[in-house]
Symmetry: C2
Subunit: 330 residues, 2 copies
């Protein structure tokens, strides 16, 4: 009897939820058009019980790049801005940096010289600012920085500069049984402290680049110490590797904006059954930035060609999006 | 109006579920005693809405060792039995193995010589049998082997030799909002193909040791190829590192059976708020095996002492469990 009552109540609740979900128009900040239609079509196909393209809930995995896909990446990656600010904050403890590259250039705000140092210079900056402390201490450093740092053009906290249409997309997918993951070339520990609050993505669904950590007992208290040694680079061909390592099954939908996402999209769309790929194309030079093939940050070139050849959806930020950032909502 | 109806229905369903959960006696294969009482007390404390020890659902993370905690590990780790069988299966393609250690010993079933080769010999066996194929191909090899291989003493498939009281514990925790993870020294890809079916633990909640993989386009088709190179050893001090890498937050409950789980338990119990640790003590020499301080497989020595010193729960398999394996249920 109790079981019957329970079943009836559960069914009623499920039906009510379903009709409620259907009643709310999804993706309100997306203009009507091919991109929005393709998203909604895909979601309806894979969630239609008994349909030919139905995908069971545990297999509904969607992966999102972060920089340039979920939040702003110009004029420089947010994490690079963080590293440069950290160099300044730590400089008093490192008087030798005044005369030592790439720190000298970083302290002088001379980004050209930093960039001229290439990957090696960048790695030096990252290790000097990201390692040598416990994981808990680093998370606090990140949150303290985000609480005060402002974007140079928009003069707002970086976490305000996330893309409203993509937030709606994350919500829409989760409302349809998807598990949403971040798969970013950025540092996994740089993202985890805030992704749950900002994107609704919990730390265990964040995949990114990492440095090694070591378990230690410090005065009898266990800590994880961040070491100045690369553990994993979650970019380009590393993205499918990171996805497999963390999730262990292939996503059915992938969202990116640059050549760094190409292999992730190839890996996702090569699976059997219904698959979906969308590339955010930065086309709005007024409200944000317009860039693709020639850009150093977020270059979209090979993936642009392959998207056209393979029918991956291109979301044109100017044409497809009504607003860019949440604070622009009326 | 619709919203009010929905709220009422959801509340009714939640209440019905709660009373149903309370009505079903948890952990039926556990004898009444300190271990069972400690588990139930802990779960009640962290789930009691408004209670002093309440833990929100997203923070209810429980980690389980696999070998010797969730399934059998004697007379040898299941994955070692797998590797030895694979050496035999692959021998026709490797005529040189007849005269080359440790393969010669493996083919002759001479485990003493294999063991005498130490870690290096073991690594050679693992790489020769676990690498050099795609991730999909390896998953199939594992499943094919599990479908036919039998345990030498119990003459049953290895996946029958999981611990019934621990299955009930996994179910009980999940029914109370916990996310259950495996954190094993064993290979992550050796476990993922079957953990969802056997333990109800999906691949994204399996953490383990791994070899490196490389993304490749093979005739235009993206694959991940398994390389003969260690990526990560998820054992001892590696367990907290693996937990942090995959989950990004600290578990509130940890379950193990050997010194390999010591640091995982230290890391888990050192967090603030209510914490729980339980060690499965193999005491049943009749129905399974009795072993602890002197055992090569699953040695429980340092963690045994620390459990006593810190009040971690010891589950005595003979006294605390009514049955060991699911097939013994009446």
């Amino acid at each position: 009897m109790r079981r019957h009552l329970l079943t009836a109540i559960t069914l009623a609740a499920a039906l009510a939820l379903t009709s409620l979900a259907a009643a709310v128009e999804p993706l309100p900040s997306w203009n009507e058009g091919q991109a929005k239609r393709a998203i909604v079509d895909f979601v309806q196909r894979v969630t239609e019980d008994g349909g030919a393209d139905f995908v069971p809930v545990p297999e509904r995995i969607a992966v999102f790049d972060n920089d340039g896909t979920l939040w702003i990446e110009k004029p420089m990656y947010v994490q690079l801005a963080f590293a440069l600010d950290r160099v300044k904050a730590l400089a008093p403890q490192h008087p030798e940096w005044k005369d030592k590259q790439p720190f000298k250039a970083a302290l002088e705000g001379d980004l050209k010289t930093v960039a001229a140092g290439g990957e090696h210079a960048l790695l030096e900056l990252i290790m000097a600012t990201h390692a040598g402390m416990t994981t808990d201490a680093f998370a606090k450093v990140v949150m303290d920085w985000l609480a005060t740092a402002k974007h140079p053009r928009f003069n707002r906290p970086y976490t305000d500069l996330v893309y409203q249409p993509m937030l709606e997309l994350l919500t829409y997918l989760r409302a349809n049984g998807f598990k949403t993951y971040i798969v970013s070339g950025g540092g996994i520990e740089f993202m985890r402290p805030w992704t749950e609050k900002v994107y609704g993505i919990p730390p265990e669904q964040v995949i990114g680049s990492s440095i090694k950590t070591r378990f230690e007992l410090s005065d009898g208290k266990p800590v994880l110490v961040r070491l100045p040694e690369i553990n994993f680079i979650d970019d380009k061909a590393g993205k499918p590797v990171g996805i497999h390592m963390h999730i262990g099954r292939r996503p059915i939908a992938a969202f990116g904006n640059s050549d760094g996402d190409l292999q992730m999209i190839q890996w996702t769309t090569a699976g059997s059954g219904e698959r979906f790929a969308l590339i955010v194309h930065h086309t709005d030079s007024v409200k944000e930035w317009a860039y693709d093939r020639q850009s150093h940050v977020g270059r979209l070139d090979k993936a642009f060609d392959e998207a056209k050849a393979k029918g991956w959806i291109l979301a044109d930020m100017m044409k497809d999006w009504k607003v860019i950032f949440p604070y622009q909502l009326k």
